[in-house]
């Protein structure tokens, strides 16, 4: 960009000082009669540039934007809560399956020797029966947790 201050820095600096002096005089509302013609011309520009813009924002702009932002916040919170609920249900499910696995593989060894009767021991020693019982327990547990979370969300909402 080849501008006047590159071709003639001294002229640029003189003119810049005039522009700035005009701005300062206009801001301070000094008497214009003491200004020279060039400063007065720049003061006219400065005065025009200090006028408020003709177009404005609606008077309720801030209120409306705040309401929109708040509504978005509520939506985001709801989405986050739903995600949290699903995550918790999934974690409980996985935890339950791990327990089922452990019981299936080791349950018979733990429970048979300590069982009071041989029949109970035999029942507990049956891996398929244990797996079925554990699955039922996990299913009931996750349903109860889900119902509890839904109740919480409803009471909060």
């Amino acid at each position: 960009m080849n501008t006047s201050h590159e071709s003639d820095p001294a002229a640029f600096e003189r003119e810049w000082q005039l522009q700035e002096r005009a701005l300062q005089h206009e801001r301070a509302r000094l008497d214009a009669s003491a200004d020279d013609a060039r400063v007065s011309r720049y003061r006219l520009l400065a005065r025009s540039l200090r006028q408020p813009l003709q177009e404005t924002l609606p008077t309720d702009f801030a209120y409306r934007i705040a309401a929109m932002a708040s509504a978005r916040e509520v939506l985001a919170d709801d989405a986050e809560q739903r995600f949290d609920r699903r995550l918790l249900q999934a974690a409980i499910g996985v935890f339950g399956l791990v327990i089922v696995g452990v019981i299936v593989w080791y349950g018979g060894d733990w429970l048979v020797p300590t069982s009071a009767t041989a029949r109970v021991g035999a029942l507990l020693g049956n891996r398929w029966l244990l797996m079925l019982t554990a699955c039922l327990a996990v299913s009931v547990m996750t349903q109860r947790v889900a119902r509890g979370l839904d109740r919480d969300a409803t009471s909060r909402g």
């Binding site: 071709s7 801001r27 200004d35 025009s48 540039l49 200090r50 924002l57 929109m68 978005r72």
Partner: protein
Amino acid sequence: MNPTSMNPDRELVDAVLARRPGAFERLVREYQGLCWHIILRLVRQPEDARELCQETFLRVHQSLHQYRYESALKSWIGRVAYSIALRHLERQRLPLAEAASAEDDGLGLLDSVDDGFDLEAAWSDAQTRRDLHAAIEALSALQRSVLTLYHLDELSIAEIGEITGLAANTIKSHLFRARLRLRERLEPMLGAVA
């Protein structure tokens, strides 16, 4: 920290992040004038400017937790407004600044001024004011914006630099050339007034 010595920016930001009632509305009211000036001066269309202003404050609300107090909140919000308006200009393929031409130099004008100029008489002439307004509108988007931030919002060159990302010398050059160009356009009008 002593709450009475708290930075007002921090106080406002903390209140918004804590979701205190009315805090975000206060923030919008505080900075809507600045954003309006930046955006309207860049995009010129009031309807577009209103939408972009709305987008600016929703973006501010969404990302306020990322504000790190490295610059004044005013500059940070101004930068969001500036970048949103800039993206709008790019999408519309509208130029931000005109290429500098030999006429921008204005050196011929520097010493060619008659004495005896009456500021108040010139200002009281409605046609001169309208012509000046039209001359400001005819400047490039960047020059309009920089002039408004400097003259109307009374921001310093450093603050304008934080908002626009331009170097201080570049801003100074835009201010200089824009004011010189306006003065150039003013001369024939003043002949009519005198």
